[in-house]
Amino acid sequence: MHQGQRGTEPATITNGYGQLAANVLARAKACGATEADIVVADGETFSVQVRVGTVDRLTKAREKRLGLRVFIGKRSATTSTSDFSQDSLERLVADTCTLARAVVEDDVSGLPDAAQMATDQPGLDLYDETVLDTETQIDWAKRGEAAAFATDPRITNSEGAEFDSSSGRVVLANSHGFVGSYKSSNFSLSVSPIATESTTGAMQRDAWYEVQRKFARLASAESIGQKAAERAVRRLGARKVATKRVPVVFDQEMAGSLLANLCGAISGYGLYKRASFLLDQLGQTIASDLMTVYDDGRMAGGLGSRPFDGEGLATRKNTIVERGVLRSYLLDTYSGRKLGLPSTGNASRSVGESPSVGPTNFYLVPGLKSAQEIIGSVKEGLYVTELIGFGINMVTGDYSRGASGFWIENGELAYPVEEITIAGNLKQMFKDVEVIGSDLVFRGRIASPTLKISELMVAGN
């Protein structure tokens, strides 16, 4: 139906936006801005959802957005719009300068130093020119869901399968004369089947997904659907367990959620606001000596890769934790200045907001044991495959979340469990990491192998 124009017109877009950015920056200067930067993002998205074999929803769009940040001395404000007409942009610049004059001076505010701007902009393999027609994308979603139904007769229903493809471009320019741009794309399939227990009628949903920068790297629709079905079926017959303190094994996804908590705790903004449980810990042991964590912004094809960060600084590979010792926070220019440290190249930027801090490709270095061996080492404990809720206090590290997974007896997965919680404190949990698996797979910006924590409180009956 629609042949996208990806890959055919990017040069003109860059040039067009480059000129647009230069015009807006000049306008800001004329309005009194001492420094400014501008982000322009545009992209197109296509999404198809199939449910029980038929197309449920088809969505297509192109969009664009421009964000402006100005500094008037030590005061700053941020604005954004989707209207790129000259009138609208002139109004935007005037509004931004008015807002900036209304806030209070902030000593450390400002662009990064001009000398720090990225000088190289490697491609990083983030973009795929492949344009898929609508029928192909519908077919992917249909095959993914059909594979789930075919895997097991207990798959009786479905929340559907969704295939998404998107591509976009980001242009960042500032009053130091920096202009950078990159293109990226994403292709993803997720399948969410529902399994029913024939005797009780009780239902369990689970899902599996994959996302890749390049279409050709996507696993087959069939393998994603099959895995989703296996995950749903294995939850049937789940029960509560007695309240007990036991070892807990986190599967890759859930271990990744712990790593995301670590990431939050070492983000510059939480630190200078004194709202993190890892204050003043640089150079200190914060985790088991088995743990080494990197954040690598330049991994080829990485889902968190980018040539420069949200302020135009070059991305890099930072050692975050080295054998349990905290070596680096995640910082942008502002939070770095607050803490008296240089930026780590981790400014993340949504159009229209001030920079914040975010990971690039943030991962725990794998160990040697397979997940099977780790589970095999537990006499009685919990294997967690899903966590829900928001019971994490980032100020204290107190941790209490809803969990489901499997009860481990004598090194085997004995039966599925649900309606339980796991609780502890993250500060202690990172120190109690006892084994790290060998199974690191990047399925997002944060990745972890399976890991085992020596003991947590499991609350159930």
Partner: protein, 493 residues
């Protein structure tokens, strides 16, 4: 706090002011162009189509470390075009509103119908105005000078620090949104609304030696700036956030296991939102993926529980004159004395299921599809004295405030996390405990509610509900209730 008319005597009549009808011209589109796009969508298999025009201006100012550092403003405008055929939905959106963009979007949305091009005309939409005005705020009052917002935040910072010298940082933000929408539908309506929304949020960090804790409080609604200054409401929010942070400095570890829990009124109504609200959204039930599928007419709660979803309360965060399909919102009884009565619906699901339209079709913005969503969800007051409820518990938990919650629709398991809670020992509230997650099963939990207080309270207007990646503002409410047993996820036996 907040809107104080007694809820059980809710005035069903709307306030008297009539809105100016929102004109499509506001979006640079003529009625003829909208009509033409709808005609283009009206091919053989299409049951329904609509165009949703939206213009939104959001502004925020925020403070930390005693200074108002950040101010931001964003403007967006666009149209979402949708066509439905049976269970299928075709959807496209655009931030350009030219005739050509409308046509491209219409052709994309129509794709799902598998019908040849060849439009037949739809009824000419008749311009309507909303039948009521639940949030009559003049634009001038919604848009206050940045300087006034800065002064508001400065006063909050001073008040929180005055509360206790152990308050070491105050983070406060004030956000407003001014949204103008117009909906043109193939069933012949053209209706618009102006939807203001604002929220004040405060977090305090308290420190005492190595012990650090946070406390939060906030509020808002479809109200103007003056709301926050009435009776120094902004200062009372600041004191509440400071009080929670200081209280948590002395909190002990929470217990683990099954025990009776008393929920205070107001925001703890998030229980209803997670435990049953989502499970009663019609889409999950049409697809039979909800733990509540096929339970209409069945007992899902004890007979002291009556729960409604009401989008018609003036000035409330979850209220709307009309939903995002142009249907007037309503008060829907979901559970009546323990019996499940209704699902909440949008047009697609009401049509496919053959059940009443409740005015709950909502979307985050023009870039999102309509889904059945809650508005303000709460339990009606009962007859018990809240003090008697606490006195009835030998050993348990009294939970006053919560962070967020989440539910697995299919197996019905839900969680919500306490941010202010106390032990109950021998009928008395004793020590404050650290936050803990409570976990239960949606279709069972309300059958364990044995006492309902006479003290119904709605929350202060801070709720945002997420579903399928879309966030919409909602309200919740609850009287004090006793749940005979629920699993508390603490660390202590």
């Amino acid at each position: 706090m907040g809107y104080t008319r007694p809820l059980l005597n809710r005035d069903k009549e709307a306030p008297i002011t009539m809105l100016e009808p929102v004109q499509l011209a506001k979006f640079g589109v003529t009625e003829l162009e909208a009509q033409h796009a709808l005609d283009r969508l009206n091919v053989r298999d299409i049951d329904y189509a609509d165009l949703y025009f939206e213009s939104r201006t959001s502004e925020s100012v925020s403070m930390e470390e005693g200074i108002v550092k950040r101010a931001a403003k964003s403007v967006s405008q666009g149209v979402g075009v949708r066509a439905t055929a049976g269970e299928k939905t075709g959807f496209a959106y655009s931030d350009e509103l030219t005739k050509k963009d409308l046509e491209i979007a219409a052709d994309t949305a129509r794709y799902i119908a598998n019908s040849p091009q060849g439009a037949s005309p739809v009824p000419v939409p008749t311009q309507r105005r909303p039948t009521r005005d639940l949030y009559p705020i003049e634009r001038a009052k919604a848009e206050v000078a940045t300087a006034d917002r800065v002064a508001l935040l400065n006063a909050i910072d001073a008040e929180a620090r005055r509360y206790d010298p152990r308050i070491k940082n105050v983070m406060a933000s004030f956000n407003t949104e001014y949204k103008v929408v117009a909906v043109a539908t193939s069933d012949g309506t053209l209706v618009g609304d102006i939807q203001p929304l604002s929220r004040l949020q405060i977090t305090c960090i308290a420190e005492d030696g190595d012990n650090r804790q946070a406390g939060s409080f906030g509020g808002g609604g479809r109200v103007g700036f003056e709301y926050y200054l009435e009776d120094n409401r902004h200062l009372s929010y600041a004191r509440e956030a400071a009080r929670e942070a200081i209280l948590n400095l002395s909190a002990v570890d929470a217990p683990a296991g099954v025990m009776p829990v008393v929920l205070a009124g107001g925001w703890p109504g998030i229980l209803l939102h997670e435990a049953i609200g989502h499970g009663l959204e019609a889409d999950f039930n049409r697809k039979k993926t909800s733990a509540f599928s096929s339970l209409i007419g069945k007992r899902v709660a004890s007979d002291v529980c009556t729960i409604v979803d009401d989008g018609t309360l003036p000035f409330r965060r979850g209220s709307l004159n009309m939903d995002d399909e142009g249907t007037p919102t309503s008060c829907t009884t979901l559970i009546e004395k323990g019996i499940l009565r209704r699902y909440i619906t949008d047009k697609l699901n009401a049509r496919l299921m053959g059940i009443p339209l409740t005015g709950n079709g909502r979307r985050e913005n023009y870039q999102s599809v309509v889904l059945p969503r809650m508005t303000n969800t709460f339990m009606l007051a009962g007859e018990s004295d809240p003090q008697d409820i606490i006195r009835s518990v030998k050993k348990g938990l009294y939970a006053v405030s919560f962070g967020g919650g989440q539910v697995d629709i299919t197996n019905g398991k839900f969680v919500f996390s306490a941010s202010e809670a106390y032990l109950i020992e021998d009928g008395q509230i004793t020590k404050p405990v650290k936050g803990a997650t409570l976990i239960g099963s949606g279709p069972e939990i309300l059958t364990k509610v044995s006492m309902v207080g006479h003290d119904l309270k709605l929350d202060n207007g801070i709720g945002t509900c997420g579903k399928d990646g879309q966030s919409v503002p909602v309200g919740v409410g609850l009287p004090t209730i006793k749940i005979d047993e629920i699993t508390v996820g603490g660390t202590q036996r």
